[in-house]
């Protein structure tokens, strides 16, 4: 059984428990051990790109360092956490001034200057488990179901830091959908923004963006949309005005593996 340090992030403990619960039961069934560090902190939700921002990057460095100390790769499942942690890892590995300021502040026993391998849960399915192996373990396939993958922005961009997939023509979630027996639906808005946190500031803009995403998926014949991001799920469900169902990809994974009922008991 391969062990990973697992970073759930703030929202998976509260409003996105389904994303977390189904990720954990499915990992166990796939032979992956997830170990949550004792003292993780919220990643802050968005990476601050400014060179003169240090404090806003510290919580991500702390969890990267926890994984380093545990001598395991780090695994994330929320798109936002993943984006923040990957961008932090990218910058601290390359920007000596940032690394020096961060380490002056943290005072770790050994400075952290990058090196932790960070996987999104989807990358773990693709690169560690393998979609072929996943397919063999499916007991409830989504045969004939037309499923639209919603990437949004945070899983893919900036591509040089995230390095998960082609940012304009991604395939990882479609390959996941095929592995669980479904039929992926390709649509134009799958890698465009849902509106994100602008729902706090300008509801009309969030409605416009999420409405465009759901309209695009429905036009191409989707029966449901799947995402890895709690804020995408919120915008697509609450702000889009669409009746198309939206689920976390982990919920479909658990259902395909025959674990959904058991994890709800």
């Amino acid at each position: 059984m391969e062990t990973f340090t697992y970073y759930p992030g703030c929202t998976l403990r509260t409003k996105a428990k389904d994303l977390d619960t189904y990720a954990r039961v499915s990992a166990e069934a796939l032979g992956i051990k997830l170990e949550e560090p004792a003292d993780w902190q919220c990643c802050g939700g968005a990476y601050t790109t400014a060179k003169d921002e240090i404090a806003t990057k510290l919580s991500a460095v702390r969890v990267l360092n926890s994984a380093k100390e545990a001598e395991t790769p780090l695994i994330t499942v929320c798109s936002a956490c993943h984006n923040v942690i990957k961008q932090t890892e990218y910058d601290i590995s390359r920007d000596e001034e940032m690394a020096s300021k961060v380490n002056n502040y943290l005072g770790l026993s050994e400075p952290y200057t990058g090196g932790t391998k960070v996987y999104h849960y989807l990358e773990m399915l693709r690169d560690v488990v393998g979609f072929d192996k996943l397919k063999e373990k499916v007991v409830n396939p989504f045969t004939g179901r037309k499923i639209a993958a919603y990437y949004g922005c945070l899983l893919l961009r900036p591509a040089k830091a995230l390095a998960m997939d082609d940012p304009e023509n991604p395939t990882i979630i479609e390959d996941f959908i095929r592995a669980i027996g479904g039929t992926p639906v390709i649509y134009a808005q799958r890698n465009e923004c849902c509106g994100g946190y602008i729902t706090m500031e300008d509801k009309a803009q969030a409605q416009k963006r999420s409405g465009a995403v759901m309209g695009s998926a429905k036009d191409m014949g989707a029966e449901m949309v799947i995402t890895a991001c709690p804020l995408c799920l919120y915008n697509l469900k609450k702000n889009s005005g669409s009746d198309l169902p939206v689920y976390y990809f982990t919920e479909l994974l658990a259902e395909a593996l025959g674990l959904k009922e058991a994890s709800n008991e």
Partner: protein, 127 residues
Amino acid sequence: MNKNLKEQVLRSGGVNVLKCMRCGKCSGTCPSYGEMEYHPHQFVYMVEKGDIETLMKSESIYKCLTCFACVDRCPRGVEPAKVVEAVRLAAVRQQGNNHLEPSEIPALLDEDLPQQAIVTAMRKYAK
């Protein structure tokens, strides 16, 4: 023109605005284009010219979704979102200039709103 402000924004943004060839692809792909008074390509140009206080006073700095579409689609690697972020930080770092205060948050909540939205908004709109 405030030279110190321009230097501060360029240093904070960490990008070379002189690489911009004014193709407008960043603004063409921006999901907030319709909501912005000044668009991503204008941020790049106005920062280059040192016309930054105009941007700091505009609501446009609060409309960027940080989706990085302009960053990945710029054919010159200018990374306009980083320029927008640097200008917004120059604005919200001023005393009394938070765009969102913690006391305003309870009225914005509903039972499904994820914590992620709140922490992200605070990171973007306040210091």
